[in-house]
C-alpha cells in the first residue's frame, strides 16, 4: 500500500469513528430519542362554586338578665358556622354579643347576654371561610329591660340605648310585630324604667 491510499484509509476510519462516537453519545444522553416524553396534552375544566343557604326561620326571645335567646333552623348543607347580628330600630347591624359571637356548624341557638336596654332585632346568616350567606328574615323586635314596645317607642329610639318616654303616656297602639319583653321588666313609661344616661330636655318627668 502506498502512502496516499493509506492516508485515505486512515481518514475514513477516523471519520467513521467520529460520527459513530457522536451518535453514540447523543443516544446515550437521550437526545436522539427526545420525543419519548411530551407535554402535548392541554385542556381545561370548569368548576362551579356553591352558595351558602339561608336559615329558613329565626326567632328571638327575651330572657332574664337582659339576655336574648336566638334560635334558627339549620342550613343544609351545613356551613362552617353562623353569624348572628342585631340592631336597634333605626340602627345599623352589628355583631351580637359574646354568647352569639360565632356559633359553630352544629349550633341552632345561642344566647346574647348583657344586651343593652332597648328594642332589638336579630338576624342570622350562614358563614364559611370568608363567605357569608344571605341572612334570614329579621326577627320580631325584642324589648330588653322594659324598653318601649310600640311604634312610638321604636321611633324615639335614638340608636344609642336611650329611650325617651312619650310626652303623653298613651297606651301602646298597633305594634308592628309582637314584642317580647324581658320578664320582670315594666313597660315604659314608669318609675322603674332604666336610668337614662342623657335624657333629652323634652323628656317629661316620670
Amino acid at each position: 500500500m502506498t502512502a496516499a491510499p493509506r492516508r485515505r484509509a486512515r481518514s475514513r476510519v477516523a471519520a467513521v469513528a467520529a460520527v459513530t462516537a457522536a451518535t453514540a453519545t447523543a443516544a446515550a444522553t437521550g437526545t436522539a430519542f427526545g420525543a419519548w416524553t411530551t407535554p402535548a396534552g392541554g385542556g381545561s375544566g370548569t368548576a362551579a362554586a356553591g352558595t351558602l343557604g339561608t336559615p329558613p326561620t329565626v326567632t328571638a326571645t327575651a330572657q332574664p338578665g337582659r339576655a336574648v335567646r336566638v334560635t334558627w333552623t339549620a342550613v343544609t348543607p351545613a356551613p362552617g358556622g353562623y353569624r348572628v347580628e342585631r340592631r336597634r330600630s333605626n340602627g345599623d347591624w352589628e355583631a351580637a354579643g359574646p354568647g352569639c359571637a360565632s356559633p359553630g356548624a352544629a349550633s341552632a341557638t345561642c344566647t346574647d347576654a348583657a344586651v343593652p336596654p332597648g328594642q332589638w332585632f336579630y338576624r342570622v346568616a350562614a358563614r364559611q371561610g370568608a363567605w357569608l350567606g344571605t341572612p334570614a328574615a329579621t326577627t320580631a323586635p325584642v324589648a330588653v329591660n322594659g324598653a318601649p314596645a310600640n311604634q312610638a317607642g321604636e321611633a324615639a329610639d335614638d340608636g344609642a340605648g336611650r329611650h325617651p318616654t312619650p310626652s303623653t303616656p298613651t297606651p301602646a297602639t298597633t305594634p308592628v310585630t309582637a314584642p317580647v319583653t324581658t320578664p320582670g321588666a315594666t313597660p315604659a313609661p314608669t318609675a322603674t324604667a332604666p336610668p337614662e344616661p342623657t335624657p333629652p330636655p323634652s323628656a317629661p318627668p316620670s
Binding site: 500500500m1 491510499p5 493509506r6 484509509a9 486512515r10 475514513r12 476510519v13 467513521v16 469513528a17 459513530t20 462516537a21 451518535t23 453514540a24 443516544a27 446515550a28 444522553t29 437521550g30 436522539a32 430519542f33 427526545g34 420525543a35 419519548w36 416524553t37 411530551t38 407535554p39 402535548a40 396534552g41 392541554g42 385542556g43 381545561s44 375544566g45 370548569t46 368548576a47 362551579a48 362554586a49 356553591g50 352558595t51 351558602l52 348543607p77 362552617g80 364559611q128 371561610g129 370568608a130 363567605w131 357569608l132 350567606g133
Partner: protein, 154 residues
C-alpha cells in the same frame, strides 16, 4: 491495501456495535422498555375533556378531576403527570371574586395507560381545592381551570 480495508471494516463494526448497544441502553434507561420508537413516531395524545366532579366548591372544600384523553399513535403511552397550566380565572359575572381561592393540586403524578389509538377517561379525587380565603363574591361563580398532561412511551 487489504489490511487497511480490514482495519476500517473492523473499526466500523466495533463502533457500530457500540452505537447499537449504547442506543439500546439509552432507550431502556429513559423509558424502561426495549421497544424502539423513532423520531418520526413521536407521542401524540390530546386532552379531550376535563370535568371537575363533586359538589359545587365551597371554602375549605375540594373537587375531583375527570379527564378524557386520546392516544393518536399506534403504540401505547402512559400519562405520568397532570400540571396546572396557568391561573384559575372566574366568569365575568362575578367581579367581586378577586381572590378565587381555587387551585389545581399540581403536579398530580399519574400512571394512566393509553392503549394504541385509545380514548379513555380517568378520574382522580380532591385535586381542585378552594381555600377559606375565597372572596365572598365568589359564591355561585364559575371557574376556568387550565391544565396540561405529560405522557411517555409505555
Amino acid at each position: 491495501m487489504s489490511l487497511s480495508r480490514t482495519r476500517v471494516t473492523l473499526a466500523s463494526g466495533v463502533l457500530l456495535g457500540t452505537l447499537a448497544a449504547t442506543a439500546a441502553w439509552a432507550q431502556w434507561f429513559t423509558s424502561g422498555r426495549t421497544t424502539a420508537i423513532s423520531q418520526a413516531e413521536s407521542i401524540s395524545f390530546s386532552v379531550d375533556a376535563v370535568t371537575i366532579t363533586g359538589p359545587p366548591l365551597r371554602p375549605g372544600g375540594a373537587g375531583g378531576l375527570r379527564i378524557r384523553l386520546t392516544n393518536h399513535k399506534p403504540f401505547a403511552v402512559r400519562v405520568v403527570m397532570v400540571l396546572a397550566d396557568g391561573p384559575v380565572t372566574v366568569d365575568a359575572a362575578h367581579p367581586g371574586c378577586v381572590r378565587t381561592g381555587v387551585s389545581l393540586v399540581s403536579p398530580i403524578y399519574t400512571s394512566w395507560l393509553l392503549a394504541p389509538r385509545q380514548t379513555k377517561e380517568f378520574a382522580t379525587s380532591n385535586k381542585v381545592r378552594m381555600t377559606n380565603g375565597s372572596d365572598n363574591g365568589c359564591q355561585g361563580a364559575m371557574f376556568h381551570v387550565p391544565l396540561r398532561a405529560t405522557a411517555t412511551t409505555a
